[in-house]
Symmetry: C2
Subunit: 367 residues, 2 copies
């Protein structure tokens, strides 16, 4: 398998107004091309990532960018469309079918990906907040975690987002503020939920040859993916993200790293409860210790988990999220994450998932 | 690049009733697994191909099939979603990221992929029949072809479909019948148009190791893809399928074959005019000679071009079409195309395209 490098990033501000996905895809890609001397003529493949119902977006983005690629299509896999598209892009380069691939994702705030109509196992509760609430309730019962412990995730990530000028929900709030925000369910407060929003992100992938001479290419050294089901009822125990654990084990093994060697990470905190569960699934925190781990991060101000604010702080434009997460890790490993740089970060990890963690992608990246 | 083989096929009947894509995806995949002894546990990736607005179909199909894959997502690129998904599947195997990939496509008869809203260059004529009509008019003017010459394509492909029990529009009709069918535009008759319909098709791809011991694996020996634009105005001269010519040249070069060595082929005859233009683009017929070539096929009864009836005869369920085309070639090369077998076929070709031939995929396959 040929090695694959990230050599460019671009993005838009995430916001609540309704921006067409075509516009966000182009804005993110245009910024990307401003920051690289890889020419558009060199781009072999253009992959769009979105849950939007617009069609032919790979070709549309290519035309808008002035690219006539060989490969062009859209990839969709709900909230992890972004990393699924990145993995597809990696495969084109790893196989030798492409040298340079543009992967761009976008969503508008009212996305059809917000509800999985197919999942009858959710009964009359199709919105994602209901599975997250089951997770939070089960986690508190099983591990004796308090509402305060879990609220620390939301306080931390809103605060981290203050250092991210593109975040949708930057707020300097306390655990108390989170607990006093509106109850959405018995076990989740408003501030513990990420917001659907508009926005785009783009990443440029390159083979070793194509990356030569580029400034600080970042290697994608490990990929893990797993789909265990498409239904909440098949996701496994409510306190354990089975797909995340399997994907992380594969990605870390491929990169020959242990979880402890990861310096900076983007975790898919669609809801506050997801971050401690992901930390446990990946092996950063022991079983039942994730919430306490997050509380400690909140207290110490250490920002190596979700430095840009995670989904809760930055916002969650579904098709863009996984790419925005990857871009944050690329910038961190390049030492270019202004105002939120994790000093000396040499290995990073991205965790992106869909639909009650029925599927997960984990990427390991290295400077 | 590791070689990739097709080792299984499955499909549904194509029809005008509205069948949910989930149902067609499963039916096609279930038939596929009945015909192979590759176990579902061996499937590393499940790729769905559709223009339908349903989300998470890769994971949904995986769950329905009892597969817990590493990779699962949807691929969309309008009418060539099917071959785009196949190429994505090939890349996972060629790179070593997967050993066995299930690619399944489906559409229901009323598909949102029928109209490209984004293409402002089409003015008030967003339906595909209008670009096809421009093509037909230009072809007749430029090459002095008659309406009868072009109608032969539709008569031939409806007739070929009679040997395909799964075809949507099998009809034993003459050129005169085509010419007497309802005028849709000045230059296209009803019988010259393929019909949107419901249906599914599935193909199983495997590495050399995984294909070992399978009955008559078919190698995908050449792939060519090109997107020249997303707009009719950028598609190039109206009498020439630029993207098809480029994709075909790449696919033939990769497989080290000339066009004349192709024994059987599936061409994307969304409208009658497309078949002669594709024949010219690929290099089977000389410039301006495609229509006469098709007339001759109609007269002689030779069925090596679109033996299952093409899109006109078989129907055009967008996301399934490219996979159904590939399956036809696989079966032909396996000598298993009952009732329509092209004797001794050893090399075959698939041509699948989107949106006024603004993009094309060409696959070369070998027994």
């Amino acid at each position: 398998m040929r090695p694959v490098f990230a050599v460019g990033t671009g993005g838009t501000k995430f916001g609540l107004q309704d921006v067409p996905v075509e516009e966000s895809l182009l804005e993110a890609s245009a910024e990307l091309f401003l920051g690289t001397d890889i020419q558009r003529e060199s781009v072999d493949a253009v992959i769009a990532s979105t849950n939007d119902n617009s069609k032919y977006l790979g070709a549309i983005l290519a035309e808008k960018c002035g690219i006539t690629p060989r490969i062009a299509h859209t990839v969709e896999s709900l909230c992890s469309s972004g990393t699924s598209a990145i993995v597809s892009g990696v495969s084109y380069i790893a196989s030798g079918m492409a040298e340079v691939v543009l992967v761009a994702g976008a969503e508008k705030s009212k996305s059809p990906g917000g509800i999985l109509e197919w999942d009858q196992s959710r009964g009359g509760y199709p919105e994602p907040v209901f599975w997250a609430s089951l997770f939070a309730g089960a986690y508190k019962r099983e591990h004796g975690a308090s509402a305060e412990d879990l609220a620390a995730v939301a306080a931390k990530n809103h605060r981290n987002a203050a250092s991210n000028p593109r975040a949708c929900s930057a707020m300097d709030i306390t655990i108390q503020d989170v607990l006093e925000s509106r109850s959405i369910t018995d076990d989740l407060k408003l501030y513990e939920c990420s917001r659907e929003c508009s926005g785009g992100a783009a990443i440029l992938l390159a083979s070793k040859d194509a990356a030569r001479g580029q400034e600080a290419p970042v290697r994608i050294s490990g990929i893990g993916q797993r789909t265990v089901s498409a239904s909440l009822s098949g996701a496994g125990p409510l306190v354990h993200m089975e797909s995340t654990a399997m994907a992380a084990a594969d990605a870390l093994a491929a990169s020959n790293r242990s979880a402890k060697e990861i310096d900076v990470m983007e975790l898919h905190d669609a809801f506050g409860i997801c971050e401690p569960m992901a930390l446990e699934g990946i092996g950063i925190a022991g079983k039942g210790r994730g919430a306490a781990f997050c509380s400690k991060l909140y207290e110490t101000g250490d920002n190596f988990v979700n430095p840009r604010g995670g989904l809760i702080g930055a916002g969650h434009p579904l098709g863009a999220t996984g790419i925005a997460q990857a871009n944050e890790i690329v910038m961190q490993l390049q030492g270019a994450a202004k105002g939120r740089q994790v000093e000396g970060a040499a290995a990073g990890l991205v965790h992106n998932m869909s639909a009650a963690a029925t599927s997960s992608t984990v990427l390991v990246m290295e400077a």
